[in-house]
């Protein structure tokens, strides 16, 4: 009976899995034959189905970079980096693309050591660790409350306190990760983007910004958003379409 159920599941899932494998194979073929724009489209459709797959985001970024679209490539590398920050290939290519836009992997104002420490874990891994510590601390607390054996209670208290401390420390770590990879970050995806003094074409151009530069989104008004340029410390308004939020 059990083997029959397994067979049923496999037979139902295999067409989907086969389709995904074929799509990935087709995209890699396009990339290998230097049809980078077409490869980018294929990887983008794969990424829309598997948004949490760092490898697909990485491959999409590679194809975008090869096709000359630096801004969207950096946005895709950023997503891949957020999903799997320890991956050496992702770090290498992300830094490579950022150098083309005049930036380094470590954001300006962030000490190198802090950046490397806070990006050991991905955001979701850190969330998982955070909840793991919370489960351990709360369940140990519940066990201590429900136990009538005083000796057992005394033995468990240090473990409960330790897991609660780990829980708090992971919360601080989370804030550090937010400092390094803020949720309001964005990437300029338009060539020769113009930042204006206000939200609209009636305001004068304050400065231009190269494609691929990382910015912080600070506000919005209609189809315009206010961004801060981290490296130069400047701010201005730009059309929302010119910025991609990783």
């Amino acid at each position: 009976m059990k083997s029959f159920l397994v067979l049923m599941c496999v037979s139902l899932l295999s067409p989907l899995a086969m389709a995904a494998v074929e799509a990935a194979s087709e995209a890699r073929g396009l990339y290998d034959s230097a049809h980078y724009s077409e490869a980018a489209k294929s990887f983008a459709s794969l990424a829309s189905v598997h948004p949490d797959d760092a490898a697909i985001q990485f491959n999409l970024a590679n194809a975008l970079l090869k096709s000359g679209r630096l801004g969207p490539a950096i946005a895709a590398y950023d997503r891949a980096f957020a999903l799997d920050p320890r991956d050496a290939d992702i770090r290498f290519n992300y830094a490579f693309a950022l150098r083309r836009s005049g930036e380094d992997l470590v954001p300006p104002g962030i000490p190198n050591a802090a950046f490397w420490v806070f990006t050991i874990f991905s955001e979701r891994e850190l969330a998982g660790l955070h909840w793991l510590a919370a489960w351990i601390a709360t369940l140990l607390g519940a066990f201590i409350f429900s136990s009538r054996n005083l000796n057992r209670r005394q033995a468990l208290i240090p473990w409960a306190v330790g897991s609660a401390a780990a829980w708090a420390m992971l919360g601080a770590w989370w804030m550090g990760l937010r400092l390094v990879l803020p949720t309001d970050r964005g990437v300029i995806v338009s060539a020769h983007a113009e930042l204006r003094h206000g939200p609209g074409p009636n305001f004068g151009v304050a400065f231009t910004i190269p494609e691929g530069r990382r910015v912080r989104v600070m506000g919005a008004s209609g189809s315009w958003i206010e961004v801060g340029v981290m490296k130069e410390g400047a701010r201005g308004w730009i059309e929302a379409l010119a910025v991609e939020r990783p």
Binding site: A54, A55, F92, A97, A127, H130, A134, F145, S146, S190
Partner: protein, 599 residues
Amino acid sequence: MRSSILLFLLLFAGSARAAVSISAALNRTSVAIGEQVVLSVTVSGDQASLPQPKLPPMDAFNVYDSGRSQSLSFVNGHMSSEVVHTFVLAPRVAGKHVVPPISADGASAPTAALNVEVLASAPPPNVAASRPSAAPAGSTPRVSSGRARGNDVFVTASLDKATAKVNEQVTLTVRFYNAVQLFGDTRFDPPALNGFLSEDLPPVRNGMTNIEGRPYQYNEIKVALFPVQAGRMSIGSAVIHCQVARLGARGDDFFDRFFSMAAPQPVTVQSDPLVLTVEPVPTGKPADFTGVVGQLTASAQADRASVKAGDAVTLSVTIAGHGNIKSIPDPVKPDLPSLRFFATDSSVVLDKTNDRVGGSKILRTVLVPRVSGDIRIPSFSFSYYDPQRNSYQRATTEEIVLHVSPGAPGVAMGTTPSSPLIPGLTAIADDIRYLKSSGSRNPLSAFLTRLADLGPWHALPFLILLAAGGTDWRRRAAGADPKGRRFRAALSQADRRLEQAALAQTDAPRAAALVDEAIAAFVADKLDVPTAGLTLKTALEGLGALAHPPSEASLGLLKSAWDEAHLRRFAPGAAGTDARHFAEETRKLLKLLDSEIRR
């Protein structure tokens, strides 16, 4: 030793002199007045920056600079450069003339002298002697100015259009008319052209014309103007300083003319200023538009399609057409790690046919493939505004594919050839790393990610903690007040016995005993006394002595119920037999007492 150093210096000096050479050529050796001849001066050498040729004075010609073009080549690692300067010579005097030798700094020898024969021409009346004007016959300038006709000399200035876009060509025509003979030098002060880039349109044209029945000789100068900003732009007056004979002062006979010629009169005439309305280019300009206006095409080619890694290839991008060619920006080099780019050299060849400025801008880049394989050089494009079509256009080159075969070991140039990353390895080029395969996530990471996605389930441990803490608190509270706990649990304890009594209705004495025990235990719990030895009398006294005693009626009912229980227990035949009903009635009574008795 000393002789060898001297020999070296001599050799070096000789090679330095030979490093730059200069030559000159004419496109024709015979030319008529009103025509023109093109002088090409070629300066070449093995250095990127070549000197300018030094033109000697050429009194028999008006000389106009018509641009330059440069080429750069690498052959077997040896660089050579060549610049061709083009000059237009407009003959002024008929006869046999010589273009003197032309020299350049560092050149080993000047060019050879060139002979030109200038033939006299007989221009037809009322027709310009030189090449015809660019303006169509019968067309009139849109903007013009000048002194009143009828004077011996006067100057007019005109534009070929009244409005133009920024950086669109406007042709300024200045004509100097004279109906009398001129003496000495004639000086021309060009108009002030603030806000314009200007380009001469040689040569000076001249001829004869009739104005109001009077024959005039005229000289015409044309200048191409490119406005650099929008608005109403002013063009200053063109001024001519000359000396004329007053033919009408003494009569028209030979002697009068002879004596008047002996006393020339200085005269200064000027044209009226002009105003041109310059409009900005329309909105909706492309992102890469840099202000180029005209009609342009772009092409690209490599000097060879197949090459070995490490060998040089010259890539030429040519932008040609009409417009201000000099303002065309250099293309952005594609970012190709597989190619190493050297400095780009640009040259401009101007073409002023029919008084329209145009020509071509050629950008040459020497590039060296670092790796073998097919290398695609992407197309280059740029936007410009076409005033004839009144729209933005795009000129695009074709993609170029270089077939690169492996070169000799050590030939390919890396990014850091002098500092190999690892001994024995030579860095060739930086590039991104290759694609990755999906599904290679480690189990711990996958577990943590799934744990993070549990969502509302994360409330579960907190609920468990809350429940355990609440239970513990209740337990601790009960342990701290055993009397109160017994008081509060009195009714529930009695209920258990009464339920057993209701179930034991077939055994009336047992049911009665259970009811009796339930009542006694209830009262003992409320009074916190032992059940054993509790009598009806002590029970009623104890309950009556409480701070909040039950009512007299309730106490009466309690006495009756207890008596009934004793009777049923010890004299079964004398009492009722419905044990279930009796248990339920007793429960109601105890519930009433529980609500009335307060601690």
